[in-house]
Symmetry: C2
């Protein structure tokens, strides 16, 4: 079936999923590009497949699909360099079983930085991501794109971060916050830990004071005094890389 009208009801609905409120209401979100849509299909969260002309053979067996015009593709995709395949996906509940290492984002606003961090988390053996309620929306297309597929490989949970950290601490997790203050230790000094959460904050404000207050370790990254801070994606990745290389993660 081919849809050609920009005012078609389905087109309107798909495009509405660019709004966070509509994603929450419908429990659906959009991913674009062959790679992400095929991943969604494999994980059984693909609801609708929208394509322009070419359909990769991995997706041929998927039945709920619609062919649309270039113009419609551009509208739904919402970016200038839009891809030729879009998937409408169902929300899935991330699982927290057997996770020993989390990266947590405390009020990080930029979905691109968030995506970079999830991509690094998968690269460096971390098992899940927590994001505070005031951080970006984890079903934002820009976030999913920036994860380069990691989105479908690691659970991402939006939580009241302070409350969740208190619970994890009671379960034996150590809380490691990245911050620059007098109590900071260098990342080289971090010991092997059984279960832990690494928390990074926004570039402007850092990690919230109440989370600093319950942290077991406050980490700093040595740098030139001319620079006030690093990009948050860089800071989180340097810490995760150090933990990975230092063999501070449990083997699976």
């Amino acid at each position: 079936m081919k849809i050609t009208s920009l005012t078609n009801e389905k087109v309107k609905f798909w495009n509405s999923l660019n709004l966070p409120s509509q994603r929450v209401k419908n429990k659906k979100y959009i991913v674009d590009g062959d790679h992400l849509v095929i991943e969604a299909f494999k994980l059984n969260c693909l609801d609708t497949l929208i394509y322009n002309d070419f359909l990769p053979k991995e997706l041929e067996s998927f039945s709920n699909k619609y062919q649309v015009t270039n113009e419609i593709m551009k509208k739904i995709s919402n970016v200038s360099n839009f891809k030729n395949i879009i998937g409408v996906c169902n929300y899935t509940k991330g699982s927290l079983q057997n996770i020993d290492s989390y990266i947590a984002l405390d009020d990080v606003q930029d979905p691109g930085n968030g995506g970079t961090i999830l991509r690094s988390a998968l690269a460096f053996g971390f098992k899940g991501m927590l994001i505070s309620l005031n951080s970006f929306d984890q079903y934002n297309t820009k976030f999913i794109r920036a994860t380069m597929g990691a989105f479908f490989n690691l659970p991402v949970l939006k939580v009241d971060l302070y409350e969740s950290l208190i619970k994890l601490k009671n379960d034996g997790y150590k809380i490691i916050s990245a911050d620059l203050n007098n109590d900071s230790i260098n990342i080289e000094e971090l010991p092997f830990l059984d279960k832990f959460v690494v928390v990074v904050g926004s570039e402007g404000n850092g990690v919230s004071q109440n989370i600093i207050g319950i942290s077991d370790y406050i980490l700093k990254i040595n740098m030139n005094s001319k620079v006030e801070s690093l990009n948050v994606g860089v800071a989180a990745s340097i810490i995760m890389h150090h933990i990975f290389e230092g063999k501070l993660l449990k083997n699976e």
Copy 2:
């Protein structure tokens, strides 16, 4: 003097500097926000100051200034979250004297990633950046913004990268390329080097084969096999951080 018309010739000229061709022709570029404009003023490259209402006292003594409306500010700034101060700056020639450590970008397209890398370069003691002719434009506002001020602290030179590396090699520099192939060594194995250039490539293509061919060291970053590559800003920053922490840089 206050300008209120969007069709004023000065406004048209300032706005034209959002185009790379106009920047090259006029040898001028735009920076926005208090922090960057004040830096430009201190370094004597500020040509014109454009502001909306408030003027920081550091800039009061600057004479070539224009007050404009909100609407004009938004037009010149070219982003939705525009700042209240814009500076038109003159191109300056970067100096290559006494530089022992460069970060070099081989065909990196995204100015945001480029800015993140320059910011990390300043944080981790690198002395300059080379970018290949096919990389982003170093006077792109998005790049300058992402450097968070590092733009005014480190020289950034757009060059024929292969030719420049050949010259530097003849001058005793070692070429270190980040890439994943059989000749790769882990960053832990990198020795102390007197003068060197670290080269990173685009995420899709990596470092060009002709540059790989003249490299003294090919570096890899260990990671989980599920991930094909890291964000280029992250990869470059991890390598520079390692060199900084490993005291592989000469003291100034």
